[in-house]
């Protein structure tokens, strides 16, 4: 039972590094559940490409998240399916473990099974374990319990599969397993006083035996009643046994999620401070000989900062309630033209309402436009955005001096944090095409969630 249960209780790779690379990965979306909408079980349009286990959204092996990404279902729905199938004769658990073995992880070419084939000791161990299990099951079914037979194969497959995964998975997946198993083992070692543990195990064992017995031999006088009582007893036994473990996993998850949200907020804040305050300071230095302009810039920046700190209105974040994408781009055009006196040509095809993802896209576009105006030396900058059902594409182009991307120092924040990471945090991508003397083109794409289309009247 345990192996598939774990599938519903954890997210994300473990790790003490909340600001680390997991934040910057484009595929990751920090949500468990789909957006509220007309079809809450659909999260986004079905993906293309080979089926892969998700690294980013995984609770155990990432099978459910991988399937979800491929089919467009919400991962929670897929996970629930596995759990339900597990309740019915452990089939879900067996399928999950098989999928874990056979589907390669995201970014990998080979699956764990291929690696396991070369693991001779592992195979021997599995064969021994499986035969032992089969013997136990055969004895059990010979004694009386015919129901054991229906559980036998899924159980053998799950145990054998998990053993192979344990031995052959890459380190990060082993860490996931470790983390799942830790609290369970901890029950035996440090989970409160020994006496309480013994009492719990004893009560659970009695309840489990009684319940299973009533369940499988229940077709007698008050059959239905006894079956219901049996189910209740079994559930109670499982809760007594594994309850503390689940509580602990849930608590860990919550802590991890909070840490991640805080880290994202910090990154967002850094990006915003960079966009507004640092950019303005740079401008002030460049225009030091025009006191009037410097005063104007400083005033504007002060206004923006006050609005941000005291009214909660993020600078340049386009917080307008019913703002559309085209209106947002027009705003960028106006602001940049007013601040930098360089004409910006903006063309949009289609339009749609803004959401948080598209606001991030606009913020990245603003940053790219300001960069182009400031550094390219081009007489004009073009923005082109196209709204399609699957996503929004945006290009910022200049014919200026261009640059060598390899020569940009790593600590220059503009491109890395404000554009790439900002897009990645929302599941979008950013690419820069440039060379010295060739001008620069920044292309941004942001997928749209399924329920928000179509954007056209």
């Amino acid at each position: 039972m345990g192996s598939a249960r774990t599938g519903s209780s954890r997210t994300g790779p473990p790790g003490p590094d909340p600001l680390g690379t997991e934040l910057l990965d484009p595929g990751r979306r920090g949500r468990w559940f789909g957006r509220p909408g007309s079809r809450p079980w659909m999260r986004r349009p079905p993906g293309s490409g080979p089926l892969r286990r998700s690294r980013e959204d995984r609770l155990a092996g990432g099978v459910a998240a991988g399937l979800a990404a491929r089919t467009g279902l919400d991962p929670t729905v897929v996970r629930t399916g596995f759990v339900v199938a597990t309740v019915f004769g452990l089939i879900g658990a067996a399928l999950y473990v098989l999928a874990w073995l056979l589907i390669p992880a995201e970014g990998a070419d080979t699956n764990i099974a291929a690696r396991a084939l070369t693991d001779r000791r592992g195979i021997a161990l599995v064969a021994g374990l499986a035969s032992l299990l089969v013997v136990v099951l055969v004895i059990a079914s010979a004694l009386r319990a015919s129901w054991v037979g229906s559980l036998a194969w899924p159980l053998v497959i799950s145990v054998a599969g998990l053993t192979l995964i344990w031995r052959n998975a890459p380190p990060d997946e082993q860490a996931v397993l470790q983390r799942l198993a830790d609290p369970l083992l901890g029950l035996a070692h440090r989970g409160g006083s020994r006496r309480r543990l013994v009492a719990r195990v004893a009560i659970a064992a009695v309840a489990l035996t009684l319940g299973l017995d009533w369940l499988v031999t229940g077709h007698q006088v008050a059959g239905a009643l006894r079956e219901i009582a049996g189910v209740i007893l079994v559930v109670a036994a499982i809760a007594i046994l594994l309850g503390p473990w689940w509580v602990r996993i849930a608590r860990d998850l919550m802590i991890e999620r909070q840490a991640r949200i805080r880290a994202e907020e910090r990154a967002d804040m850094a990006a915003r401070v960079h966009d507004s305050v640092l950019q303005t300071l740079a401008l002030i230095q460049r225009r030091a000989e025009h006191p009037q302009q410097v005063i104007q810039l400083a005033r504007a920046q002060e206004r923006e900062l006050r609005a941000w700190l005291f009214d909660g209105q993020a600078p340049g974040s386009l917080d307008g309630q019913d703002m559309t994408l085209a209106a947002g781009i027009r705003l960028i055009q106006q602001d940049v033209e007013a601040q930098h006196e360089v004409p910006v040509e903006a063309v949009t095809v289609g339009d749609c309402e803004l959401d948080d993802d598209l606001r991030a896209l606009l913020a990245a576009a603003r940053e790219a436009t300001v960069n182009a105006v400031k550094w390219s030396g081009a007489p004009a900058v073009s923005i082109f955005a196209e709204v399609e059902p699957a996503g929004v594409t945006l290009f910022v182009r200049d014919r200026g001096r261009g640059f060598d991307p390899a020569a940009v120092p790593a600590d220059r924040k503009g491109l890395a944090e404000s554009i790439h990471a900002r897009m990645a945090r929302r599941g979008g991508t950013a690419a820069v095409r440039t060379a010295p003397g060739e001008g620069t083109e920044v292309s941004l794409t942001m997928p749209r969630a399924a329920e928000r289309q179509p954007g056209r009247p």
Partner: protein, 237 residues
């Protein structure tokens, strides 16, 4: 309709000045005198400005009288808009070509002038050399799509399938853009020149030009009134 594709109009203004025997003769139609003189000075010696007009009626009279190669036409005119000028003159003077020049952002105005028969549209923010280049291209029979016009056209054709299924398409060929044409339009909208597009798509500049001409033809000949309706609805949306 698509114009003499082989008229030898080079893609660079500098080369054109040497290559062409005669400077294109141009009439400027705009209701703002200040803007007319601005355009005149920007065009400089590269073209020959043969006259100016400030409204529909004087423009029609002037163009009929001096038969210029290109009419630079403001989309907004007090007496009925630029399209009135094009409509009045097209049948009687097919050799006169129109290039719409406007500060207007309204797609319905732009599409209307193009559908009436103008061979291109550029915004008033265009630089002097680019404007000279555009005039020369139109004079040579080519079409000139500014990024904004390319965006409008993409939008208009994208809107078509979503519109009234009750009206069957008489000529599907005319009512849809080919994938290649869409690609070319997207690159124009992104600010690429024809030459850059040619390099990007591994085709010749001539091929780019013929794609753009074909888009213009579809825009003008498509019988679907959705195309015009789109433009008006877009503003309401």
């Amino acid at each position: 309709m698509t114009g003499p594709a082989g008229s030898g109009v080079p893609s660079r203004p500098g080369q054109a000045a040497r290559g062409q025997a005669r400077r294109p003769r141009v009439v400027i139609v705009d209701d703002h005198g200040l803007f007319r003189s601005g355009v005149r000075s920007e065009l400089g010696d590269e073209v020959e400005v043969v006259g100016e007009a400030d409204d529909v009626e004087p423009a029609i009279a002037l163009v009929s009288a001096c038969l210029p190669d290109v009419v630079l036409l403001d989309v907004h005119l007090p007496g009925g808009g630029g399209q009135a000028v094009v409509t009045a003159l097209r049948a009687s003077h097919p050799q006169v070509r129109f290039l719409a020049l406007s500060a207007s952002d309204a797609p319905e105005d732009v599409i209307a002038v193009i559908r009436a028969g103008a061979r291109g549209y550029v915004t008033k923010t265009i630089s002097g050399p680019d404007l000279v280049d555009a005039v020369r291209r139109v004079a040579g029979g080519d079409t000139v799509f500014s990024p904004r016009l390319a965006g409008f056209v993409l939008d208009a054709f994208a809107a078509l399938p979503a519109d009234g299924p009750g009206v069957p398409s008489l000529d599907p060929e005319l009512d849809q853009l080919s994938p290649r044409e869409r690609e070319v339009l997207r690159l124009i909208a992104r600010g690429y020149t024809y030459k850059e597009i040619a390099r990007e798509l591994f085709i010749s500049v001539k091929t780019v030009e013929s794609h753009v001409s074909s888009v213009l033809r579809k825009l003008q000949l498509s019988t679907r009134h959705q195309l015009t309706r789109w433009a008006t609805e877009r503003r309401l949306a």
